[in-house]
């Protein structure tokens, strides 16, 4: 029998019921079934480089503390005091061995000299006289998530039975690598610029994921920015040297929900085309990086990602601008977007500045590209609540039935450049989670050592 979720998001017909964006009950189910189980991106190791550095991040609606302990291990803990629920940390970032609740001063530590496990309860005012032996501190630590680090990115899940992160990512990892790796093709960790852009957008969180997983059809949204020539080298929107040499297409991963617009696997670098004609320093470095890339990658497999999304709410740009974004749900009708930006650590200062400024005029709430997206998302979201339109589905039919497997990548489907296959596939995965059987997907098989 077809579950109610697959009736609401009918990928075989390309029809999506608008209630999935606005229904409060479905939203609550998403918070439990998706955000309580899926691997979620929570930050980058570059945000907490030193022992006891921490940031506060989010997993769905939940505030979490992402902390590095004295041995360099990273822990993710629910930012809620086990005693009576106050947030134990209200700073965006800092350095601390312990977190003391401002309400009744229960304190929790990540220092192995003080506690057995990071996040354990350490200090309780009046422990002897008030609790007189009835409180076992080891049972009252902060709730902990399962954590994995992948090439600098930090991921966490509340489901301790979840498969490991590489299994969860499947062959999408190659596309993620294209964003995380050095531009020279090596897996040298990127630097993250200081500062997280955080802003509220009054639309459902899934609309953000849809947009970045490869909705090339919405390119018309960005006509105004293409007319303004904002690319770092003076080109229209970006300087897409790489994709001008390879055919771009949309790829999604069956049974995983991840998707992107980028290239199919290829085995050699395109010919060098200069990217920064007006800047000798940037041009020389770019040329040198190209030569290193040819050498590092040899005849190995490589892909290019323009934009991609990992189920459920993480997305990235692989080339320009190099940025990672999360769509945190706030309510059915609102999300909070968080953006960070990456750069190779050996980029000359001049180019670093050129790119940083380009990132800021492209992305974020003041981004000349991103701003046009949110106007569309907000009004589209509002229509999901329209009483006259209830029961009238949205149309996700582009490219229906026109798919082929991608050679060399497990469970990967090529839908062609302009298609809604990626989004239909996302909703199949959405239904897997809501049905409560996300880990039964046949696509969750161990990969052969990730993206190297």
């Amino acid at each position: 029998m077809t579950s109610p979720y697959r009736k609401l998001a009918d990928s075989s017909q390309g029809l999506i019921d608008r209630s999935i964006f606005s229904d409060e009950t479905l939203y609550r189910q998403e918070m439990q079934q998706i955000f309580g189980h899926a691997w979620l991106f929570v930050g980058h190791v570059g945000q907490i480089p030193q022992p006891f550095d921490y940031i506060t991040s989010r997993m769905g609606e939940s505030s979490v503390i992402v902390s590095r302990d004295g041995d360099g291990q990273i822990h993710v803990m629910l930012n809620i005091c086990r005693h009576r629920g106050m947030k134990v940390c209200r700073y965006d970032s800092g350095n601390a061995r312990s977190f003391t609740c401002p309400y009744h001063a229960w304190s929790y530590s990540v220092d192995s000299k003080l506690v057995a496990r990071a996040g354990d309860l350490f200090g309780v005012p009046g422990y002897e006289e008030n609790y007189a032996g009835i409180l076992d501190k080891s049972e009252w630590g902060l709730q902990r998530a399962k954590v994995e680090i992948y090439k600098g990115t930090i991921w966490a899940t509340w489901d301790h039975e979840a498969p490991d992160l590489l299994t969860y990512l499947g062959d999408m990892v190659h596309y993620l690598d294209s964003a995380l790796h050095h531009r020279d093709g090596s897996d040298t960790e990127s630097e993250v610029f200081v500062g997280v852009q955080k802003w509220r957008v009054p639309c459902n969180w899934k609309i953000g994921s849809e947009n970045f997983m490869g909705d090339y059809y919405h390119d018309v949204s960005h006509r105004s920015v293409d007319l303004a020539n904002i690319g770092p080298g003076g080109a229209s929107r970006r300087d897409n040297r790489e994709t001008s040499m390879h055919r771009s297409t949309s790829v999604c991963f069956r049974g995983l929900g991840h998707a992107l617009v980028g290239t199919l696997p290829h085995f050699e670098e395109p010919e060098y085309l200069p990217k920064y004609p007006d800047n000798p320093v940037a041009m020389a470095y770019d040329r040198e990086v190209y030569e290193r890339r040819v050498k590092n990658l040899g005849s190995g497999m490589r892909v290019i990602t323009q934009a991609g999304a990992v189920f459920p709410n993480f997305a990235f740009h692989g080339m320009q601008p190099r940025t990672l974004v999360v769509f945190h749900p706030v309510s059915p009708d609102e999300m909070e977007m968080w953006r960070i930006y990456l750069i190779d650590s050996d980029v000359p200062e001049e180019l670093r500045e050129l790119l940083r400024r380009f990132y800021l005029r492209y992305s974020g709430p003041a981004g000349m590209t991103e701003s046009d997206d949110v106007e569309n998302w907000v009004h589209a979201h509002h229509s999901s609540k329209n009483p006259v339109a209830q029961g009238v589905p949205y149309n996700y039919q582009i490219g229906l039935g026109r798919t082929k497997p991608v050679e060399g990548l497990q469970d990967a489907i090529d839908g062609g450049l302009v298609t809604e296959e990626n989004v239909r596939n996302f909703y199949d995965r959405w239904a897997d989670f809501l049905e409560g059987t996300p880990w039964e997907s046949p696509a969750l098989r161990a990969t052969q050592g990730g993206g190297d």
């Binding site: 700073y91 965006d92 200081v194 997280v196 957008v201 960070i340 940083r356 709430p365 046009d372």
Partner: protein
């Protein structure tokens, strides 16, 4: 500088800011670009929740991530984008009022590029988009204005919004 001279100077520069606000609120964006010097730095940092003894790092600095970091060329690009008629976040155009107050002179010095006056002010920016959408943003503005043969010109502007998580879906208004 004598107190009276400082107050007169502040009033003179405030008048310049009010004229600028009129250009923005009357959507005379091309003319608005004329209030800046060629070398203008236009910067709006992020505000972070920091512990009391680290509050000096509340705002992101130069070379870090900001809401805006512009020069004259990119401000021109933004004005060009507004003029395309297909910049959906400002099509139709928002209704915006810029209120500027508490204008004070911090310093008045002459450097190689001419006389430069550092000022501080408060801003309150109200925006109505489409039908009922409204955004209200308040903050501090630190401007350096340079005296030119055509009058005052802004050569550096730092806008410190009183927002951590920005409660606006986009920033398409100038400050």
């Amino acid at each position: 500088m004598a107190h009276r001279d400082r107050v007169m100077l502040a009033a003179d520069i405030a008048e310049f800011f009010y004229q600028e606000a009129d250009l923005l609120d009357e959507r005379r964006f091309e003319e608005w670009l004329g209030v800046f010097t060629e070398d203008v730095q236009y910067f709006m940092p992020l505000a972070r929740n920091m512990r009391h003894d680290e509050i000096g790092a509340e705002f992101t600095s130069d070379k870090e991530i900001a809401w805006f970091e512009e020069g004259l060329v990119t401000l021109q690009q933004r004005v060009k984008q507004l003029a395309t008629g297909v910049h959906w976040i400002e099509e139709p155009l928002s209704r915006v009022s810029h209120l500027i107050t508490n204008v004070r002179v911090l310093s008045d010095e002459t450097c190689a590029l001419g006389r430069e006056v550092r000022t501080s002010a408060r801003i309150l920016v109200y925006q109505n988009r489409n039908e009922t959408e409204t955004v209200l943003l308040a903050g501090k503005r630190l401007d350096t204005v340079r005296e030119t043969t055509d009058g005052w010109r802004v050569c550096r502007r730092e806008v410190r919004l009183d927002q951590n998580v920005l409660m606006a879906k986009a920033l398409t208004t100038f400050f």
